[in-house]
Amino acid sequence: MGARAVSLLQRSGALVALVAAIVVGAMRYYDFLTAENLLNVLRQNSMLGLVALGMTFVILTGGIDLSVGSLVAVAGVVAARLSPAGSLVALVCGIAAAALLGLVNGVLISKVRIQPFIVTLAMMIAARGAALAATSEQSVSLGAAASGLAWLGRGDVGGLPVPVLLLLLAYLVGWVALRYTRFGRYVFAIGDSEEAARLMGLPADRIVMATYALSGALAGLAGVILTARLGAGQPVAATGWELDAIAAVVVGGTLLSGGQGGAGSTLIGVLLLGVIFNLFNLEGTITPWWQWVMRGAFLLVVVVVQGRLQRREAHG
């Protein structure tokens, strides 16, 4: 009961900020509260959202995945390369490539026992190198055969863009998985105390591996969607997304120390950061550097407030 109240309040910390941002946007910009603009925000952030979902699982186990940005690029490049063979091949292989690299992360972390920060830092560097090498540092255009991919990136279902649909679906599945499946519960358990989880008989290694593979797969899906949207696979795509994803997860209220948080809060975090960018663009006169300053300051304010709420709730 207490736990639920805490997590609800944590979530509403970011939620309150999101609502506030939306209110400000609606009051200040005529174009903000239009279906067009709101769908824009959702669509634009769908890829980062998928990456952040994977990151949520990883962070819940107490780990971190710095390689996601590079894995997005790898998947995008693979998908673009294989697109002449058909959309399905491109989709599956793109995701598989990133998932495989994610699995490598997981193996190095759980079996070889190197810290996640280092493993994924190395993977971030190496996978970026691989993407650049595989493409001779050039963008790869999508083949003509990949009409399915074009739909994936730019189509819509009943007015809802496909990437947005996938995003919502992924979060729904992620939420259910975390709350109602054993895998999800084990993710929480490991983040709480890996040693305790092991001693209680959980297959900790396998869960950690699965989590990083999942993070890779979601980054892969994001990469394929990105390629589909842009019509080209870019080896330099998604640089810095790992930090954006971490920021979204944390702003949402998931603790980096693991074991506490959830998927829904991450979605709120993603949207919150996305809305901020959208507002910057609608304002249109804030210089990029002031945007940096404001983003940093905003991030600080949200996490400080979030921390206060969490502590107050934990003690009260």
Partner: protein, 522 residues
């Protein structure tokens, strides 16, 4: 399966950590339905042996047979699947998760493949009720005190329906009521044919429930034999590897406390708390400690003993009341203030709040005294070495050198280092919270002796303990807390285990708290 074969047989188990041998060709045989005591000093290898049994550690050599079949558990998961489970010494629970989740982790009830929360909570509630535990299944484990956490761990172990259940120091933080619940559980499991390995440093418990005993010393098997007919003193001899005439009598090293002069009643108290309250549990505590006194603090679990100590020490804010040292008001906002006022505090939780595991004995020992060792901003190596050498010798700290990492020491030796940490600041008042918890009988005696000596030399000591024997024999006076209030103060002839229990439960005060009692003259 051969009839009559033991349920479990471990043979020739050897385990090295780095180049140190923790276990050297140890055997352990368990029969169905027996409660098997595993005893030995701190660091004898008891926990290591059971961790190997449950797959938490890998053995270097040796065989394990379960019902005659050779088995080899690489992970606790495999052991658990085969019916070998453990409640480990350091409580291993998920602190952010609920009681129910902890109990059912790994075997959550499911419905259409999804975790069935409702049933899980209902099952947990039923289980807790059955075990006589008053606990909400959806309480977050981290919010429970040590004792309750321990009971959750035991509930989980019991409910796993294991064929072999290891209980590694299950009672170290339990109160008598919970201990009796545990006894009942053990009896029930025994009747079902479960073999139980029971590790404890409390001899009363061993004799109350164990059938056979295996004694380890320095990682080697000394003997396995029925407990009945083995005298306590002989068991101690086996543990320590001494002949009987090398030992003397007495249960605690405090015995004959009356011999010590009872403080200096004429002088003003060194520590005085008046109606101290604050936090979630502390309501109204008044007590006094004089130089040369050991004042015991008794109470049931959660009665606020630790919180009183922490409030005096400035570790937790104290919202109401007044704390004074030598008549001067002390409003310690942080431990820093208290240390400057000459107070030292040894926490009840050695691992979480005591040792800095990666640092050496030297650094751990001098941590609080660094300001004293510093000249012109530089720590004097020479003086530091002298101080460390002096205290390691005086307290008899056993280690390869002062540079050894403290986490490599046995619990007793860690505790001595933590005591030394405060002694080298020459405090006027030392607060000891459960100073002998989880410590073997030998080290316990040494620590008790030391505390006694300190008080004799004029230090004021406030000692919290759950062992009434220790309180009765060691204290000049005992203050009893109930529900965050000091309800009684016992001294002299009034001071007995019976009286303390009575006061803890019902709070009949024999002398009003806060008022300096008369000290019996001897």
């Amino acid at each position: 399966m051969t009839a009559g074969a033991p349920l479990l047989r471990m043979e020739g188990i050897t385990k090295r950590f780095g180049s140190a041998t923790a276990l050297d060709a140890v055997d352990l045989v368990l029969q169905r339905g027996e409660v098997h005591a595993l005893v030995g000093e701190n660091g004898a290898g008891k926990s290591t042996l059971v961790k190997i049994l449950t797959g938490a550690y890998r053995r270097d050599t040796g065989t394990v047979e379960l019902e005659g079949q050779p088995v080899s558990f690489d992970t606790p998961a495999e052991a658990q699947a085969a019916g070998v489970c453990a409640v480990h010494q350091e409580i291993h629970l998920l602190t952010h998760r609920t009681v129910a989740e902890n109990i059912y982790l790994g075997r959550e009830p499911r419905r259409w493949g999804f975790v069935d929360w409702r049933r899980m909570n209902a099952d947990a509630a039923a289980l807790l009720l059955d075990l006589g535990l008053d606990m909400q299944p959806d309480a977050v484990v981290g919010s429970l005190n040590t004792a309750r956490q321990q009971m959750v761990a035991i509930a989980r172990g019991v409910s796993l329906g294991a064929r072999v259940l290891v209980l590694d120091e299950p009672t170290s933080s339990l109160s008598p009521r919970e201990v009796s619940i545990l006894y009942a559980l053990v009896a029930r499991l025994k009747a079902q044919g479960t073999a139980i390995v029971y590790i404890s440093h409390r001899f009363d418990e061993l004799y109350a429930i164990c059938d056979r005993v295996t004694v380890l010393r320095d990682g080697r098997l000394v003997e396995t034999r029925p407990l009945a007919g083995l005298e306590r003193l002989d068991l101690v001899c086996l543990m320590l590897g001494k002949r009987r005439d090398e030992l003397r009598h007495g249960t605690t090293a405090f015995a004959e406390h009356q011999a010590r002069t009872a403080g200096e009643p004429t002088t003003a108290p060194l520590l005085e708390t008046e109606h101290v309250g604050g936090g979630s549990r502390l309501r109204d505590v008044s007590l006094q400690v004089r130089r040369g006194e050991i004042v015991g603090l008794a109470g049931l679990l959660g009665s606020g003993r630790t919180e009183t100590a922490r409030a005096v020490f400035g570790a937790d804010p104290c919202a109401r009341g007044k704390v004074s040292i030598q008549g001067k008001r002390l409003d310690a906002r942080s431990p820093d203030d208290a240390i400057r006022a000459g107070i030292g505090f040894v926490s009840e939780d050695r691992k979480a709040e005591g040792i800095i595991p990666e640092l050496s004995i030297r650094e751990n020992l001098t941590l609080a005294a660094l300001p004293l060792l510093t000249r012109y901003g530089v720590v004097s190596r020479r003086r530091q070495r002298e101080m460390v050498d002096r205290f390691m010798e005086r307290l008899g700290i056993k280690a390869s050198s002062a540079d050894q990492r403290i986490r490599e020491l046995s619990g007793g030796n860690q505790q001595k280092v933590l005591l030394a940490r405060w002694l080298c600041t020459s405090p006027r008042l030392l607060i000891l919270d459960e100073p002998t918890r989880g410590i073997d009988i030998g080290a316990k005696g040494e620590i008790q002796g030391l505390v006694n000596e300190l008080a004799t030399d004029g230090m004021a000591v406030l000692m919290i303990s759950s062992e009434l024997e220790e309180l009765v024999e060691g204290s000049t006076r005992v203050v009893v807390l109930r529900d965050g209030e000091s309800v009684a103060e016992l001294s002299g002839d009034q001071l007995s285990q019976q009286a303390i229990i009575h006061a803890m439960a019902e709070g009949g005060s024999t002398s009003s708290p806060g008022i300096a009692p008369d000290h019996p003259v001897h």
